[in-house]
Every structure is written in structure tokens, then in C-alpha cells.
């Protein structure tokens, strides 16, 4: 892939231009109050509490965007901010889709995970975005620069804000530092349903982290094959929310994969205590106990797992059978 030899299609360019004219008209119209920027209005009426009035993450480097490569450029900036070396050239093969001449949202998250970082989509709130920046994390936003029906999508990185001037500071396309009013950002941002994401070193929690979303984001890191990163992230999750089932099962699975059976046992045991109805917790506990050679305990756990009816019952029964088979012929039992 590397550098792409592409010129912007005239149609798309014209569409974007036309979009801006319309947007300018709409903005003029906004003077009359017919443009709706609900979050900007809400922030004006009740400014967010507990935030420093002005933050700029000057340490976030700028990567110049070549045509169509705003996705890779935006990711390279936030990867660098998270301590991962990257540039447009190295990120492009992870995320750029030639057939679309752009980068999909899901792949922005996937590329982040493949680079060893936790990808966290934020709640669709301008205030959450500001809180993340105050906590030192730059935010990638998806904007529509044209119309709803003929969109021109664009990624940019928000690296600062000023509550008094009611502005954000943005690195976008060929400009390393732009000041956009909250209303200006919201106008283009709301078309993507206020989509934004963070790229965080595993173990570091977003300032606005929500339990379910953080757990799912961590499981996604595990799925992407980043076992060590996922372990850090699960630990952070469980420190804040000690009984989270995804966290306990995920940590156990990761520890098992990393061959720390004692830690895996601890995690699955915690899961089975906090969630006695979880067949997954008991099934996996039974497996680890069997792998540790404690077949009595393993059998008991597997029997309890089978007794819990539900979608996991078939797998629990298989587990029990393999343990019983091992007990019958302990000599041939290197693996369950």
C-alpha cells in the first residue's frame, strides 16, 4: 500500500465545497436561531464543573495528512500521544481502505488494538470530550463536512479547549493547530452521532469510563490478540469495578493463555463467588483446576456448572466428561 497515488475526485471536492456554502448559509441562518446545536447550548447554560478553564496538549505531535489519509494521520497522532511510535505510512496499511478511499470507524478501533492500545469510543457528549482532554488524552472525532445525504467524512484530533473562549483546539488535515468554536465543532460532529474515540495505553482508564463500555473495550483488546495489554486493562477494570463478570472471566482467560494457572484460578474463583449463577465461571474454573491436577475440586465445579441450566450447559457437560475420563485413567491425563 504505502503512498497512494490518488487525486480527489472532482465530484467529491465540489460536493464538499457546496457543503460548506450550505453550512455557511446555515450558520448565517443560525443567527436567526434556526440551527440546532443542543450540546453547545447546554454547555453555555451550565458550564462543566471541575474542569481547568484552559487545556492544550501541546505534546501531541502533528502528522500531516495526504489526500484521503485523515484516518491514519489522526491515529498516528493519538498513538504517539499514548507512547506508541507511528506515522501515516505505518498506520495506513492497518486502517486505510482503498476501495472506499477512506477509513471505517470500526477499523479505526481495530487498528488501535493491533497497535497494542485500548480503543475506547466515548459517549456522544461534548462534555465527555472536554473531560478526556483535561485528563491529558487527545480525542479523535468523526465529522461530516458536507450534507447528510451526500456526506464527506473526515477525522480530526481535538487536543485542547478554552472554556472562556468556548473553543476547542484541533489538529486537522494540513493544519497543525486550529481553533474551532464549540458550535463549529458540533455542527460537523453531530452528523456522525458525535462519534469519537480514545487510544489509551492498557491499564490507563478513560476519565469518563463507564463500566460496561470499558469492559467490552477490554475484551476487544483480548480478542485482537493483545494478551498482556488486555491483562493490564482487565486489572484496571477490576480495581474500579471488582465484580465485573467480563473482567473476571476475561482476566482468567488471559492468565490461562499466559500460562499463569494460579492467577487464572483466582480470577475464575472470584467470578464464581461474585456470580454463583455463571456457568462460564464454573466451567472455566473446573478446567483450570483440572489443569492443575486437582481433579476432585474440578469435578465438583464442573458438576455445579452442569446443574446451572442455560446456553452453556452443553459445554459444561463436555468439561465434566473430560474430567471424569481423566479420573478414570489418570496415567493418560496430561491434558483435559
Amino acid at each position: 500500500m504505502g503512498s497512494q497515488e490518488i487525486s480527489i475526485p472532482a465530484g467529491q471536492k465540489a460536493r464538499a465545497r457546496a457543503g460548506f456554502l450550505i453550512a455557511a448559509l446555515a450558520a448565517a441562518c443560525g443567527l436567526g436561531g434556526c440551527i440546532s446545536l443542543p450540546q453547545t447550548d447546554a454547555l453555555r447554560e451550565s458550564p462543566p464543573q471541575g474542569l481547568p478553564p484552559r487545556v492544550e496538549l501541546t505534546q501531541v505531535p502533528f502528522h500531516l495528512q495526504d489526500d484521503f489519509l485523515c484516518g491514519p494521520a489522526s491515529l498516528a497522532m493519538v498513538f504517539n500521544a499514548a507512547g506508541v511510535p507511528a506515522d501515516v505510512e505505518s498506520v495506513t496499511p492497518l486502517v486505510y481502505l482503498p476501495g472506499r478511499k477512506g477509513s471505517l470507524q470500526a477499523e479505526m478501533l481495530g487498528a488501535t488494538r493491533r497497535s497494542g492500545l485500548l480503543a475506547y469510543p466515548l459517549a456522544p457528549q461534548l462534555e465527555d470530550l472536554l473531560r478526556e482532554i483535561a485528563a491529558g488524552t487527545p480525542v479523535v472525532v468523526l465529522l461530516n463536512l458536507a450534507f447528510k445525504l451526500a456526506p464527506v467524512w473526515h477525522y480530526a484530533v481535538v487536543v485542547g479547549y478554552d472554556l472562556d473562549k468556548r473553543e476547542v483546539i484541533v489538529r486537522s488535515a494540513k493544519r497543525s493547530r486550529d481553533e474551532w468554536s464549540f458550535g463549529f465543532l458540533e455542527y460537523f460532529w453531530k452528523e456522525s452521532d458525535y462519534w469519537s474515540m480514545l487510544a489509551l495505553p492498557p491499564g490507563r482508564m478513560p476519565a469518563t469510563a463507564r463500566e460496561a463500555e470499558y469492559a467490552v473495550a477490554t475484551a476487544a483488546l483480548e480478542q485482537a490478540g493483545q494478551a498482556r495489554g488486555a491483562r493490564e486493562s482487565y486489572r484496571a477494570l477490576l480495581e474500579r469495578w471488582p465484580d465485573n463478570l467480563i473482567g473476571l472471566i476475561g482476566l482468567g482467560n488471559v492468565e490461562y493463555g499466559l500460562k499463569d494457572l494460579a492467577a487464572a484460578e483466582r480470577a475464575f474463583r472470584r467470578a464464581s463467588v461474585a456470580h454463583p449463577q455463571s456457568a462460564v465461571a464454573l466451567n472455566n474454573l473446573a478446567h483450570v483446576l483440572a489443569a492443575l491436577g486437582r481433579l476432585d475440586e474440578a469435578e465438583a465445579a464442573a458438576r455445579t456448572a452442569v446443574s446451572l441450566e442455560g446456553p452453556m450447559q452443553a459445554q459444561a457437560r463436555e468439561t465434566l466428561e473430560s474430567i471424569l475420563k481423566r479420573r478414570a485413567s489418570p496415567a493418560a491425563a496430561t491434558r483435559p
Binding site: R17, F20, A24, A27, A28, G30, L37, R44, D67, F68, L69, C70, L97, P98, G99, R100, G102, S103, L104, Q105, A106, E107, L109, A111, R114, N144, L145, P151, V152, W153, H154, R166, E167, S172, A173, K174, D178, E179, W180, F182, G183, F184, A215, V216, A219, A220, Q223, A224, G225, I246, G250, N253, Y256, G257, V280, N283, H287, Q315, E318, T319
Partner: protein
């Protein structure tokens, strides 16, 4: 037609089961999908979606290996959303200097409007 079928089968084989941790352990994804409100996704559906999305990514100019690696980094929910939708979903891309100048102009406008 036949080659298409074969290539899809090959993709399924290459991708394998996501979260295939270790024989007997139930993967974290089972817990994730159980806690999510979305309709329960079966493993079969997940694998089919993955092969579908990998095939589409290939059609969009990726090598088979790149398509496979990329799909592997996505969650079941993300893959389900992409399946059949890659043409339609937002793909962030555009920029040009003229655009940015207009952006700034507009920024001033809105800023003025909002300040007012």
C-alpha cells in the same frame, strides 16, 4: 461462482473461530454477548459474518492476509455492523486546503453567531 464459494470457504478456514482460547475454556466473548442487549449471536453467525466482511475488504483492495488480520481485530458486534454495509458506512477521508480555509471562515461565522 465455484471459485467464489471456495474462496469464501478458505476465508472461513483461515479466520477460524474468534476467541479460540484453549480447548474447553469458554471465551470472554460469550460473556460479552450475554451481557449485551443485542440478539444472541451464535458462533456460526459470527464466523460467517467475519468471512463475509473479510471478503468485502478484499474486494476493496486488501490482500487476503491484510483482510484477515483486520477482521481479527474487530469485535463480533463491530463485524456484524460491517457485514453488508461496508459501502454505506462512513469512511473518513476528505480534506483540501480550500476546504480548510472555508472551515476557518465558517468557524469565525459560527463563533460570532454563538457569541452574540
Amino acid at each position: 461462482m465455484f471459485t467464489r464459494l471456495i474462496s469464501r470457504l478458505l476465508i472461513v478456514c483461515m479466520i477460524g473461530l474468534p476467541f479460540q482460547v484453549h480447548a474447553g475454556l469458554i471465551g470472554t466473548d460469550e460473556v460479552v454477548s450475554a451481557t449485551q442487549a443485542a440478539a444472541a449471536r451464535t458462533t456460526v453467525a459470527s464466523v460467517l459474518n467475519r468471512s463475509d466482511v473479510a471478503g468485502q475488504l478484499q474486494a476493496m483492495g486488501l490482500t487476503p492476509q491484510a483482510a484477515k488480520d483486520r477482521v481479527a481485530a474487530l469485535t463480533d458486534a463491530e463485524v456484524a455492523k460491517l457485514a453488508g454495509q461496508i459501502e454505506a458506512l462512513p469512511a473518513g477521508a476528505d480534506s483540501s486546503v480550500g476546504l480548510i480555509l472555508l472551515l476557518i471562515l465558517l468557524g469565525v461565522l459560527i463563533w460570532w453567531a454563538v457569541k452574540k
